[in-house]
């Protein structure tokens, strides 16, 4: 395989350059994108392709599981020929949410090693924490930008890096910095503040399908960011 060949060549000459190795592998990486919105699927597909990923885009958690060979039914497709290197999923989807999909993937011995990134238009600490706790690598606030997708390469390169412990904790602190720390299920009045990515206007309160459950109440967790 090219991967091993490259490694031994480098080792022989200048010593293993981890970063370069990982970059080379990542260029052929296959991402499974899951989003029920047609507009978002088109955008994420293009974002990924322009960043040199191979992409398969599906419209539901169920279809994602089918593609991954985890729906209990025998798929005629050989799973190994469709190796998925990263899964990026929307949080709010009808039927199976991105969070439920994440749990299913992390609960499967065959799939739990695949890094999963969650996207959501709602920038809420409790939601971010739930996802990270369940094993998500990152949480991207929509709308997704090119810089967000470029970051994805880090999660695939992780397999090459010697130490990946402690990253989850750092990631959590990073994400808390820009997220809201209180979540109120009561109706809030919309302000006329402009919506920017660095702020987190908590002006919309979804009634469904991703309505806040008791798990997302502010008393559950209140973390101080450093």
């Amino acid at each position: 395989m090219a991967r091993n060949g490259a490694f031994s060549r480098r080792r022989a000459s200048e010593g293993a350059d981890w970063f370069d190795l990982c970059q080379a592998n990542v260029e052929e990486a296959h991402v499974l994108a899951v989003d029920d919105s047609l507009v978002d699927r088109k955008v994420i597909e293009r974002l990924l392709k322009i960043s040199s990923f191979k992409v398969t885009a599906v419209d539901s958690g169920l279809r994602a599981l089918q593609f991954l060979g985890l729906d209990g039914e025998k798929s005629h497709v050989d799973f190994h020929s469709l190796k998925v290197d990263l899964i990026i999923t929307d949080y709010c989807m009808p039927g199976m949410t991105g969070y439920e999909l994440l749990k299913r993937i992390k609960g499967s011995s065959a799939l739990r090693e695949i890094p999963v990134v969650v996207m959501s238009s709602e920038n809420v600490v409790a939601r971010i924490d739930r996802c990270l706790e369940e094993g998500a690598e990152d949480f991207i606030v929509k709308p997704v930008k090119l810089s967000d997708v470029r970051r994805l390469k880090d999660y695939m390169a992780r397999g090459c890096q010697p130490d990946s412990g402690g990253k989850n904790h750092q990631k959590r602190k990073q994400l808390h910095g820009s997220a809201t720390s209180s979540w109120s299920p009561l109706p809030s009045v919309s302000s006329s503040r402009s919506r920017s990515r660095s702020q987190s206007p908590l002006v919309d309160t979804p009634a469904a399908p991703c309505s806040p459950s008791s798990l997302e109440s502010p008393t559950r967790r209140l973390r101080m960011t450093s």
Binding site: S37, V43, P143, D204
Partner: protein, 149 residues
């Protein structure tokens, strides 16, 4: 009109759309994803957005017309529209969606109906602006120029 004039028009028009809040930074992001290999990417996304929005606006009208309004359903539709308008950078549409969701949460039918009217209005506006923008780009292409600023 020659290419130089057309391009000036395009720049001015684009600035106007951003200045008046019809479009936001996300639209710029989408334009960055367009190249020689995908020359119609933004227009394609816009087409999907138009189809999606029209479907949702119809659903909203139907749902709000009922004796007993299912606010969860209404909210779900508005949530969808909020998402797609955000993804294309249609800022004014997105903002109305946010207000709309608050009314859903309060189970305020009148507020919802007002928002629906406003949504239809903002949607029609951004649709016509985007179509004018794409038309200008086509004219530049036809005149032998390249629309990328």
């Amino acid at each position: 009109m020659d290419v130089v004039q057309l391009k000036r028009q395009l720049i001015a028009f684009t600035e106007l759309l951003f200045g008046e809040g019809f479009l936001d930074e996300q639209f710029n992001q989408l334009q960055q994803l367009q190249d020689e290999n995908n020359p119609n990417f933004v227009a394609e996304v816009a087409t999907l957005f138009f189809e999606d929005s029209e479907r949702i606006l119809n659903e909203l009208a139907n749902n709000l017309d009922k004796q007993s309004v299912d606010f969860k359903k209404v909210d779900a539709h508005v949530h969808q529209l909020k998402g797609s308008s955000s993804s294309i950078g249609a800022q004014r549409v997105q903002r109305v969606c946010i207000i709309f969701r608050n009314f859903c949460n309060e189970r305020n039918v009148e507020g919802c109906l007002k928002c629906l009217q406003q949504l239809k209005h903002e949607y029609a506006l951004v649709k016509s602006k985007l179509e004018a923008l794409f038309s200008l780009e086509q004219q530049i292409l036809a005149a032998g120029g390249s629309p990328s600023i």
